[in-house]
Amino acid sequence: MKKLLAISALLIVMVLLAGCSDNGGEKVYVYNWGEYLDYETLELFKERTGITVVYEEFVQNEDMYPKVESEAVIYDVVCPSDYMIQKMIENDLLYAPNFDNIPNIKYIDETYLKSSEEFDPGNKYSVPYCWGTLGILYNKTMVDEPIDSWGVLFDEKYSGEILMIDSVRDAFAIALKYLGYDLNSTNEAELEEAKALLKKQYPLVQAYVVDEVRDKMIGGEAAIGVIYSGEAIYTSRENPDLEYVVPKEGSNVWIDGWVIPKNSKNKENAEAFINFMCDPEIALMNFNYITYSTPNSGAWNLIEDEAVKNSPVAFPPQDILDRCTAYRYLGEEVEANYIQKWYEAKGE
């Protein structure tokens, strides 16, 4: 059935594209997060290599996965997060690129390659693209104590002033970390405890958000929000009252990386694209555009603004990173358990 679906979908796409796809030439099909690179770089890539980029975007890992898995559309380069890369490796969906064609990987800082081994042992399948932490964004004018703990998200004092993140793994990571557990926990008792905590939090939460947190915090809708560090630079620029902190209990550090699906038809073009993305100047363009931390030391060296270069938000010091853990793919059953518990926590 899935095949049939894929074929019919493909047929429709082919019919639709028949008119315009006939201009020949080399192509690379890229599937990336929304607004996750400077679009000008795509033009530059075409100029330098003659390869046309066909560019598509997804909202979250879970949207991307079924599309790649079902082969409904065939992509050459995709940019999933750590635990999703692991899931794809385990399910044999990825191609191990020939790193001779990606010499620019030398610009990727050792630290991040090492962190990547957590989900991609031996760095065989992925090339780090962006990374960051999960933390609290708060409005200095609306709180009267130093914020340094996840505890404020469960404090009745801030009832109605909290924007909680609407994402299963992140929500549980916060609860688990606050309770002093591992954020990759599979222990039923720990997960139950985390669920109970999140359930208790429900009446205090103003809204569950993901991308909306940015505008709501800038507009002063709430005092405290959960956000990814990459957004924090932008929000603080728009509203100087906002400050980002990685709580002392520790948090999640995530890495998004370029990978090549096994069924890719233009593997060499894909390698050329990934190599291009690792070019320090290109990485810098992307960093300036999306403000998510780059693992590219070449690009970091090129940053002119000292404040940004030494920003503890974009490039946190080692002691903060030591408190942070990456997500691991926990297997289908545990994943379903997390989701079920998240519903129960939010379903009152």
């Binding site: 879970e62 939460v205 103003q206 569950y208 989701i339 939010k346 379903g347």
Partner: protein, 296 residues
């Protein structure tokens, strides 16, 4: 197909059928439906089959009713009940707002009735999503209404992220779908019928109860369907105006698909479809009665 039926409840029977002289025309015109049939097969029938397939199977392709039975999970049941409640409330509000408006439109001697109708449709020229986001900006704590209230030193209005905000969003977005069918039916009622009723001694109330209301029933029915069904299944309005805090059955289904659990999502969609079919069956029964007693 549903919608086409709903829209056509009051369509006059084609003259062609009455006098057999245009038989040729009918036979030829059948081919005209070909594009739509193709459309229907590709984008309604096949997807429906796919949903039934996913709803009745597990990941390893075994047949199961677990996906459908998952509606009995207390969380899902709660979401379904809440969705039914909210969509019922908004349908009633829409009806209460729309019916008098349609009557006024019918009675008004103004030549620019079509202008008023256009004003009702005008918001629909803007994207549905944008309008809902606009409501979010209006209702927010730092939104337009509260800024204004604050200016007047009045207490602020905290309606965002409550069921009330969701009902407001539903009524705002779906009201035109109630007004238009009712209005269309009402303006088609022959003045002579009403005059005849008055002639035979019926007072205003009697005329309304015995003539206008029964004759307008088909429009009311289409209106109810066209407001109730999208309200019941919406997840965008509850996401944007409910801050994802209020979980309707539409949100549950959307979440299931988002996390890649197509089987449960499809199973729940099937349950929702059953509810919609039930409501349409009830309504169409009333519709027939309305037509049977009201039309000549």
């Amino acid at each position: 197909m549903k919608i086409i039926n709903v829209l056509n409840t009051k369509a006059p029977k084609s003259n062609l059928q009455k006098n057999g002289t245009h038989n040729l025309g009918i036979r030829n015109s059948k081919w005209l439906s070909f594009p739509y049939i193709l459309w229907m097969a590709g984008f309604i029938i096949i997807p429906l089959i796919v949903i039934v397939y996913y709803g009745m199977t597990t990941n390893d392709k075994r047949i199961t009713i677990d996906n459908i039975a998952s509606i009995l999970n207390p969380i899902n049941l709660r979401a379904l009940r809440l969705a039914l409640e909210l969509s019922l409330i908004s349908t009633i509000i829409c009806l209460v707002l729309a019916y008098p408006l349609a009557i006024i439109l019918r009675k008004s001697k103004m030549k620019n009735n079509s202008f008023i109708v256009m004003i009702i449709i005008l918001p629909m020229w803007m994207n549905f999503l944008l309008r809902t986001i606009a409501w979010q900006n209006i209702l927010e704590r730092t939104g337009v209404i509260n800024v204004f209230l604050k200016l007047l030193n009045l207490p602020s209005l905290n309606i965002i992220n409550t069921p009330g905000a969701i009902v407001l969003g539903m009524v705002y977005n779906f009201l035109p779908f109630m007004v238009l069918p009712i209005y269309n039916v009402l303006i088609k009622i022959d003045k002579d019928v009403i005059n005849a009723a008055r002639d035979l001694g019926a007072n205003g109330m009697q005329t309304f109860m015995k003539i206008i209301l029964p004759l307008s029933l088909p429009g009311v029915i289409s209106g109810i369907t066209m407001v109730f069904v999208p309200s019941l299944t919406t997840f965008v309005i509850s996401n944007i105006l409910g801050g994802s805090k209020i979980v309707l059955i539409g949100n549950v289904i959307e979440q299931q698909f988002r996390v890649g659990n197509w089987h449960t999502g499809s199973g729940l969609s099937l349950v929702l479809m059953i509810f919609i079919l039930i409501s349409m069956a009830i309504l169409s029964k009333y519709d027939k009665e309305g037509e049977g007693s009201g039309l000549w």
